[in-house]
Structures are given as C-alpha cells and as structure tokens.
Symmetry: C2
Subunit: 318 residues, 2 copies
Amino acid sequence: MEPVFPQILEAASRIAPFVHRTPVLTCRSLDRIYGAGLFFKCENLQKVGAFKIRGATNAVFCLGEEEASRGVATHSSGNHAAALAQAARWRAIPCYVVMPRDAPEVKKKAVEGYGAQITFCEPTLQAREQTLQAIVRATGATFIHPYNHPRVIEGQGTVAMELLEEVPSLDAVVVPVGGGGLLSGTALAISARSPRTMVLAGEPERADDAIRSLREGRILPPQNPDTVADGLRTSLGTLTFPIIQRLVHSIFPVSEEAILEAMRDIWERMKLVVEPSGAVPLAAVKVSGRLLEGKRVGIILSGGNVDLDRLPFRPAAT
Amino acid sequence: MEPVFPQILEAASRIAPFVHRTPVLTCRSLDRIYGAGLFFKCENLQKVGAFKIRGATNAVFCLGEEEASRGVATHSSGNHAAALAQAARWRAIPCYVVMPRDAPEVKKKAVEGYGAQITFCEPTLQAREQTLQAIVRATGATFIHPYNHPRVIEGQGTVAMELLEEVPSLDAVVVPVGGGGLLSGTALAISARSPRTMVLAGEPERADDAIRSLREGRILPPQNPDTVADGLRTSLGTLTFPIIQRLVHSIFPVSEEAILEAMRDIWERMKLVVEPSGAVPLAAVKVSGRLLEGKRVGIILSGGNVDLDRLPFRPAAT
C-alpha cells in the first residue's frame, strides 16, 4: 500500500497522545545571515530527540492486536531504533533491534534504555539482514523499516502538517534527505495542503545518492558515504523514491564545511542542540543562491542526538 | 524608588514588542531523574540569549527623551552588557560599556556586534568603576546597573509572570542567584500573583555569598568566587537583598559537579544549549532533598551563552 495524504491526517490523530507538538522558533540574526525569513520546526525537541518517533509510533499503533503482540523488529543503529523501542514500550510489546557490533556505545545505551532487545551482528549489510530475518522467523515480530514503510512515511508527514498549521503561506520547506522518509512524507503533506510551497531538500555532497538517483531516474546506492551527517548515509527506498521524483522541487548538495557551519550557527544563535543531519537544511538554504532570498522558509530541524563528548566543532580561530 | 509588583505589569507591556515570549518546555526523562514535575521557562531562547534583555529593555524605555538621547552606560563583561547594547540600539541611543582588558574575545565581539562602544580597563573593581564614572561624566549617559536598579528588577520579574500565566498552580519556582536581579524580580511577581508558590534559588557553593548574607543579615561579598557559573560571581545589591530577605523561602548551595551534571542533562535530554549559570536551578532541585518530590516546579533556564570551543563537559566514562 502506497503512502497517501489522507492517511497523514489519520496518523496525526493516532500519534498525538504520545508525541510532542514541537515549537516553531525564529531567529532574527539567522534571518539576516541567511537572507530569508526562517521558521524552524524543532523536531530536535521531539520525544527520543528526533522526528523518527512519529513514523515509528504510527507504524506500531497501526498493527492489529495479534500481530502487535509478537512485537516489532528493525535494523538500525540510529534514531529509528530508539524511536521504535519507545513506541513498542508505549504499546507494551517486544522490540528487537539488530545492531552492528561496532555501533557507538551511546547509541547502544539509548536503545537499551528504551527497553529494546539488541542482537549484535557483524558490521556488514548481509549480516544485518540475515540476523534480522532470523529474529523475525523465530519471534514472529513485524519488521518496521526505518523509512521504506507506508505508515512510517505517513507518520513523518505530520511534521509538515503542524508546520503549515502554525506558519501559513510558506514559500518553501527544506528538509534533509537520507532514505527519504521525512522528505516523501513532507512532500505528500505540502503538495496536498499548500501546493504553492516548494519542497526542497539538502543532501551531503559526500552522500549524494538521492541527487544522482533523481538525475538517472533510478535508485542508486551512496558511494562511500563518509559524512558527518550520520543519519543521511542511506539510499532511497522503493516507496520514497517515486514520491520524491514526483513532488520534490530540488535537492541541494552541501559540503561538510557548510553542514558544520550551519550546525554551529544553530547552537550559538538559537541555543538549540541539533545533530549534523538536522543542520543540513539550513546549509542548503545557503547554497540555494537567490532562490530563497527574502522568502518565508520552513526548516525542519530533524534531530538533536549528538555525543557531547565527540562534538565536531573546531575552534573558529583556526 | 523601590521595585514593586504593579510596575512588573507595566514592564511586561513595555518590553513585549521587543522580547520573545519564550516557550515553557517539559521533559519526562528529567522528571523521572529529578523526581518532580518540571516546567522549564526557556530564557536561553530569549533575545541576546538571556533574560537580561528584559531588565535592560525596561530600563532603557523608561528613560525620558532628553535623558535617553545622551545614552546609557554599564560595566559588565556578561549578558547585561550585550542586553543593554541591544536595548539601546532598539531605542537608537548610544551605549557605553566598560570591560576588563582580559574579557573573553567572544564576549567582546558580542557586545560590539550589538553596537556598543567598548572602553577597556584594567581588570580591577576600582579601574572599572573609575572608568565608568569618567564616561558618564564626559557623555551624560545614564548608568544602568546590571541588577541593583528598580526598572531592571521589574523587567526580570516578567519571566515569572509569563511562567505563571502558562503553568498554573506551581508548588515552587527555582532560579539562580548572582546579584539577585532575577531572584528579587521573581519573588515580587510570585508573592503577588501566587503566594502559595515557594520561591527558591540555587547558588554555587564556590560563590555562596547570598546564602551567607541571608544568614548574617547583611550583604557580604563573595570570597574567591571561582565557579564555572560565571554569571553568578557577584554580590547582592542594596535593592535586591531586602526583597530576597523578605520573600525568598530558601537558597540551596550546589557543587560544581552538580552544576555540570545538570547542564549536561539539559543539553542531552532537552537538546537545549544552556550556560552553567542556567543549570544551577536544576542542580538545586537535586540537592533540595524531598522538599520538591512529586511537586510541580518551575525552573528558569536563565541563559544559553557559552563558548562552544570551551565547553566544560568531561567525558562521562572517566
């Protein structure tokens, strides 16, 4: 079943008892620096520290009783795993997460803290998928893909719905793109509710598979996606790609330097902790040339999960 | 003229066109850790990154035309100087700031960025006061004290007013205390509007002059105030002390470790950049024993101005 707009409205009601309606903040000094009227939708202040809780919660609460009772499973070392674990706990069902052995300690702890059962595997795609399949076979749990899942995409679309409710007549909305869950959900919501608003994305130059995929008309994998924006290293999915093809106006490549600069601007000037992936849309505004000059632009700050002991800032003086 | 409650209402209307009405945020995981229902009033998200803009703006816009035209002056290397500079710019009048030569580069830049004229002096109290006097004599500018000024205290009282409007029936409000501007303004507002709400403060153990002053019944200076909470190293003032004596229920001393732990909790779990001084109230909740257990507690996050290149976090593992 393809994700569709009316289901985003249902997702909004379904997840409302669990997730925050996050604030939309503005910052005059960033408006000056970036040359546009910026409206930041703060999903870094969301439960679990990222928008991912929306899709995961929607998927978990769409399951039938019997299916749900056997639990949910996923492979992810990032925000989706923590989000799925939290959503499963809300529904009081088991959650199984497959993680590479070498995942950062801080991520293991987060997922454990939300009550998931972790199975570690070798850090290869094959090991990850085989391990997940074995768990699903043994437990009967339902696999909830991090983004290539209609209920997940519809859940992520609720971010843009809230943004539109709070800030009317936006000229553009800019989001980060990794697997495309947030971008396709946003595109579905915006095109239905505010068709004159452009849907734009930022993507790390070093993981520019979405840009290349759109150019070539088929899903390409990222090549050595060595970017500080660790949430954006995945390729598009079979559900997200066609929506992005159809409804997204443009994706801008951003350099590592631009990501870190945007991230620092948000920390210093807005006093918000945002992860590198979450700073990618602001970096995209900078490289978009005059397209957004003086325009009203919604920015989705997608998440705030960083390891405070390993911050990527470098002293400005050097 | 003593600061009084009705003037806080006037201050609220006077500054409303300029300052943010900051959001009140909650965080379930901090509620669990700290054992209370916490409501965080986010003055770190305020203009200039701190509540200080309220008092400064109120003082600047209370001046008569003629007086205002000669400008305002202060000595401060912190948030008040930046706030006064911004407020003066809004009123299009000069602002003169005396700063010690050795003030951090980042603070000099902030104050300059808001358009103030800085005069540097030797890093002694005497040099600072003499330099300020010379400037006031030469320019006719009005000295706006960082906290011992009735219009400043009334301006700071607007934080608690907004908090009470948003969160009814609080059992306590906890703020940091340095010179006592925020604490005395908060106490005036709370005692008038919600007399059953306790007014509490946190103070660094290493700058515990307010606690000692209350005990001895007279204003004592801090002794070697070597604390990471650099906004709280000042002594109480002749206006703030009697209000605190009369209306504040208790001040809790907090260790450096407790401040850094609270600060890290806020960054990690709330995704908010808060300066050490701003984390002091949450640290105070922890040391308050069972006083606040299960209670509804307002926390004023006073500011978010930190140097990202000199963060005081230490790896949790060590």
